[in-house]
Symmetry: C2
Subunit: 393 residues, 2 copies
């Protein structure tokens, strides 16, 4: 078992009446002049943006608005936000939206007090020492960014998608009203659940399998998400199951399911190149890659894959054939992906065959020009990445 | 499902190398002059107290020491600590010990900046607006005070034991080294595990059984604790299972297992009178009371007790007889208590019959002179409390 730090200071305010508390919370965490940051039309059409602005108005809190964040948030929008915050004297950022908006807010929060180029943090050239306080009103459960220290940004100049993690960017509070997720389309709902389950799977497939409590908690999260997604695909306004998914997305990525274990993240890295190149939905990209990753690596720790098959997917344990049980678990996961409308390979993801040249380009980027490895359950070199992409064709 | 707030900002630093970080953490959270607060001889004999003081010395952090905290911590020690902190200009409290030491530290932290009597908070006469920052080096996993907002103090003047909860008292950091728990005697180990499981049971037995994820997480915590306690009673230096218990004690009481549900706490309240009157170990007192509470209330929500029996204790589900399954779960819990050396009634707890006068006195205190009720799974009036104490004789 590894030593660990667990630190998830975000105040989660959850439920039907949670939005009403936004002004009190902004004040509690020291906001005087707020950047209200959001994405496209949905926050406007639903009335959420107006509601937040009205509540800030009523409380006498000044704000400026910046919308237009797109999925796989762009560096150019972050630059725009930094300029605006500096010009307007903003001291607090309120992200209203999903993971992309929150990640964009984190980028802006790092950049405002920083003299250099904020992209340096994502390139690993510097560490952020301070950032503006930020918080969020979550509308899309998936990325887990509402409690996490992580953000992922795409630099359009070269289609490079990179992540940066720093505890100082953890949101001060996160307002979560499951009713706001009733209007999420089925594909986005399913992709979100795929993403949150994967956040736990990236930590679950580990060699540190002496950490019993973390394993038990992870399985509880995965089972609950897999059960609840069918309920909300059937009835989008099922509050009970929307609530499981919304809270599950946070628990899956706030660090709890990783305490004492080495996390892997190879599937995420392999997917980042897919969504960087094809601009596909992140969760769908994960589903397209994971089965091939799993078949490529499962022999590194067969018993872990057996446990996953039995405890998470309900596969009967054939004690005489652990490898067979492990493989049945991967097949059951593929059936789950298909049942919720997710792809299980790249062809299903992008609607055509991927070319060898495209795979080569993704391998080059994922291996940082053949210099870097990914993952630790099995350490993936460039040739491993190529093999997995080819299996996933 | 209830709306909820989840807020657990404590930075947990967990593992074999965690103690080395104490000075860095005190500085990170703004400490310049520290009160090192501790209990009896064990922190001295183990060398932990000296180690902490040496690390503070090396980092140039000033400190004063105050020991002598006893189980069921006393108000008089808190007054002593408040005086010392004021005299010495202390701005940070470091509790080195278990729940009693941390609870005593919380009392001192509330009291130092407060002009009135700190006992007013526990009496419900006032709310603390501010307190000194505090942190802990945990040596006894049980109370969960290392991440919680709660503290319980005994006023010797009248033998009154009262709790007070306020988010501002949550420890800034908690250092947890499972090796420090190797020397815990079996009785204290078992009582600690009983206490931590009960922290989750107090939230598990609820009418809000639509909160699936919380239920699943709670069951994961309880199963893991019940499994690990046998391993450490057999081999006290089993790091793996000591670690499950240490981390489990925090997860059981940091709010995670109560998200979205109404918590009960009647068993805790009934026990507080027992340990107030007989100065018994809190965890043992809980085990002595719970089976009688359970038999008195289980009909309020039989299916919850069935789920507990099946998912936590492994009782086969007799679908034709839910009440029978529920009762078998309570019996299985009694066998668990006995197997780890805990009592299941008051006679086993105090070694003699309790008198009717003693029960009357406990009922009077627990009902605050017949004016208050306890719990919500079934609301307990004075006559219910008396009935449960008599069942538990």
């Amino acid at each position: 078992m590894k030593d660990f730090i667990y630190y998830a200071p975000t105040e989660v305010v959850f439920g039907k009446e949670s939005e009403e508390q936004v002004a009190r919370l902004v004040k509690k965490y020291g906001g005087h002049k707020v950047l209200v940051h959001y994405g496209g039309q949905s926050a406007i059409k639903s009335g959420l943006l107006d509601k937040m602005c009205n509540l800030l108005d009523e409380a006498g809190i000044e704000y400026v608005k910046l919308g237009g964040v797109v999925p796989n948030p762009r560096l150019s929008k972050i630059y725009e936000g930094i300029d605006l915050c500096r010009k307007e004297g903003v001291d607090f950022i309120l992200a209203v939206g999903g993971g992309s908006v929150i990640d964009s807010a984190k980028g802006i929060a790092y950049g405002v007090p920083y003299e250099g180029d904020v992209w340096d943090f994502y390139l690993g050239k510097d560490e952020a020492q301070t950032c503006l306080p930020l918080a969020c009103v979550l509308t899309i459960p998936a990325a887990g960014s509402e409690m996490s220290e992580a953000s992922v940004v795409t630099n359009e100049d070269g289609d490079v998608k990179l992540g940066y993690s720093n505890d100082i960017s953890r949101p001060k509070f996160a307002i979560m009203n499951p009713c706001r997720t009733f209007t999420l389309p089925p594909y986005q709902t399913a992709a979100g659940v795929t993403d949150m389950i994967m956040h736990t799977m990236e930590r679950y497939f580990t060699h540190d399998d002496d950490m019993i409590l973390t394993t038990e908690l992870a399985e509880a999260v995965m089972r609950t998400m897999m059960d609840s997604v069918f309920a909300v695909l059937k009835n989008p306004e099922d509050y009970r199951h929307r609530a499981q998914i919304m809270w599950g997305g946070s628990v899956a990525h706030n660090g709890l399911t990783g305490c004492g274990v080495a996390d892997d993240w190879a599937t995420h890295q392999l997917e980042h190149e897919l969504s960087g190149m094809f601009d596909v939905t992140h969760g769908a990209g994960l589903a397209a890659v994971w089965p091939s990753w799993a078949r490529y690596v499962y022999k590194e720790n067969v018993s872990r894959f057996v446990r996953f098959a039995v405890n998470v997917l309900g596969v009967p344990n054939d004690f005489s054939d652990p490898e067979g049980t492990a493989l049945k678990g991967i097949e059951a996961m593929e059936r789950f992906y298909h049942a919720i409308g997710m792809p299980i390979n790249i062809h299903e993801l992008i609607g055509r065959d991927i070319t060898d040249e495209e795979i080569k380009e993704m391998v080059r980027k994922c291996s940082r020009d053949y210099k870097a490895t990914q993952g630790c359950f099995k350490v993936l070199h460039a040739e491993d990445m190529e093999a997995i992409y080819k299996m996933a064709k």
